[in-house]
């Protein structure tokens, strides 16, 4: 039986193709680990909590409720969204929460594993996958709630609803890609995590999350440039049965994400030993 040979040295092999292949091989090899880590974190989370699943959707729900109140009470005058406002607001905040969670997920998963990263050599890609599993689990709960809203407020069933999970997949892809590039630096400096949290609050206001895109003006320009816009709009349009308006931009964003995702994986893979060295306890 030939033994697998590993070589550790300073020089990195920079052949992207090979690195991507290694990354994917490790990802496949560690599928059980990824699942186990996700199961561990999810069950630990719920075992030590009475409200349990509520925490998964409380943030988008309260944000939506705040905006529904602002709108209903007349505090803020919003343009017509074409669908009942609660459905519009909740679908927006829900998609937005999935986006932000997927941006944060690689960083938080890696950070949480600091203790084992400095002690045990295991395929680090498992951390990212386990993060995605946890994200899917939380998203699934929210989606069920959203579907409840859709029927409750009389939007009703459309065939395109079945495409909604695919659109969610787009949101997770975009978020994870961004997250992967931020993770190595975010592991070194806490500032990164703070800036992400802080910055995303502002980005939300130039994304059609709780209000529709205006017909003209600076806001329209900003929203149309914002790569989150097509992701949110397409997913929402599919859920409520509209024809997606920004489908081309949506596919451009996704097409750009795929090579960037692989690049992000390679960057992550190269960076981890450098990060571990700076963390080593």
């Amino acid at each position: 039986m030939a033994l697998e040979t590993k070589v550790y040295q300073k020089e990195n092999n920079l052949r992207i193709g090979r690195l991507v292949r290694e990354s994917l091989t490790d990802m496949y090899a560690s599928r059980f680990l990824a699942r186990q880590l996700a199961v561990r974190d999810i069950s630990a989370q719920y075992r030590q909590s009475y409200l349990g699943i509520v925490w998964a959707f409380i943030t988008p729900l309260t944000t939506a409720v705040v905006w529904i109140f602002l709108n209903k009470s007349g505090t803020i005058q919003l343009t017509d969204t074409g669908i009942p406002y609660p459905v519009f607001a909740f679908s927006g905040t829900l998609l937005w929460s999935i986006l932000t969670e997927s941006i944060n997920s690689p960083r938080t998963s890696t950070n949480a594993a600091q203790g084992i990263l400095t002690k045990i050599n295991f395929p680090k890609e498992a951390l990212i996958i386990s993060g995605i599993y946890k994200l899917l689990f939380n998203s699934a709960i929210k989606v069920v709630l959203l579907i409840g809203f859709i029927f409750l407020f009389g939007v009703g069933y459309h065939h395109t609803l079945w495409l909604f999970p695919l659109a969610l997949f787009g949101a997770i892809l975009l978020g994870t890609t961004i997250g992967l590039f931020l993770t190595p630096i975010g592991m070194l400096y806490n500032d990164v995590g703070k800036i992400i949290g802080f910055g995303l609050q502002f980005v939300m206001y130039i994304t059609p999350v709780v209000y529709a895109m205006p017909k003209e003006g600076l806001m329209k320009v900003l929203m149309e440039l914002n790569p989150f816009t097509p992701v949110i709009l397409t997913a929402r349009d599919l859920a409520v049965g509209f024809t997606p308006q920004y489908l081309t931009y949506y596919f451009i964003v996704l097409a750009a994400c795929v090579p960037l995702l692989f690049l992000g994986l390679v960057f992550y893979r190269i960076s981890i030993p450098i990060i571990v060295e700076r963390l080593s306890a």
Binding site: L33, G115, N121
Partner: protein, 416 residues
Amino acid sequence: MIAKTMDTLQPTNTPTSEPEVLVKVEGLSKKFCKDLKTSLWYGMKDLASGLRGNKAERELRPKEFWAVRDISFELRRGECLGLIGHNGAGKSTLLKMLNGLINPDAGKITIKGRVGALIELGAGFSPILSGRENIYNNGAILGFTRKEIDAKLEEIIAFAELEEFIDMPVQNYSSGMKVRLGFAVAAQMEPDVLIIDEVLAVGDLGFVLKCFKRIDAILPNTAIVFVSHNMPMVSRICNRAILMEKGGSIKQGEDVSGAIDTYYGRFANNEMNVVFDDGSIDLKVIQIITPYHNENGLPQLHWGDNLEIYFEWLIKKEDTSPQFSIILFDKEQRPIAILDWKKTSGIDRKNKLLRFSLIHKNIQLSRGIYSINILVSFGNTRAPYLRINNALSFQILQEEEIWPPFLLKTEFNNKD
């Protein structure tokens, strides 16, 4: 500066009968930074240079030092390498590089086969999940598949001796129980290369013995790198050693006991330590008067020599009637012997001085460094006047390297 005294790098064209080289380390170095802010900034720079392939030679930047410097060795299947040295000598850093957790700054490691690391036991445990669930968590991190764990579950629980508590949350386990569970999972590995850091120190004696039994069982098929401060353990399982100091190797090769002696020599503080003194009596002089060599202030005797120790005491109170107990300790601070002599009547006191010497003929201690503790006491209860630890150290020279403290002269009688 750093002398490689007994390096035994094997020639590369090995005969076929020799087992294959599993670990090959060439000129390995690693630097660390002393300052956190600077370290993080260097981390950023390294991220950037990592993307460019790290081709450039690495020099020390300000506030950096070599944590590991130019280490080379080869390890074959069935061999066990002991890494010894003071805290901060670079042992753990070397292990981390061997385990692939961090990349070297210079040099190269080539490892063949499956690598197992006992650096932390019970990695991935979640405190609020049960022991059973955590076996899966830990097993997954160590690279087992679900099927493998399913098949070995009962064996793991039995090995950890936790049948009764396996469904209790791990946060209610004692630290020893956690270590036992962690080792039980890790023991299921069948690695080609096993890296062991100071993990077996916890756990009770029975469990430590069990661990060693397991290590003995896998040793013939494995190359082991073992880091420990427990020298009896090192001399028991290792057949080669590297003594590290300040990142470099100062002694290296198959002479494990030589490396251990040097290691102990580095600690040789000849300062005696008075742990109790009621002011009745003082030790003025203590020395070995047997002919001996004196190496760095450490008296050396050959096995079989007579050990003669000269004492000079100052009696400070008139009614003092001292009894002397002389206890020999080995380098592990285990008491191993007590000197016994017939009481001499009428202790000769001149000028409040008390002088005598003790002779132990034909000393049969095994090779190593020993120290003497003294208790001066009175009465049947042995109430102490004075208690001195490490009053004197000496070294026994002998070719035979054995672990027990005595090498007893024995005659062989043929009864055929």
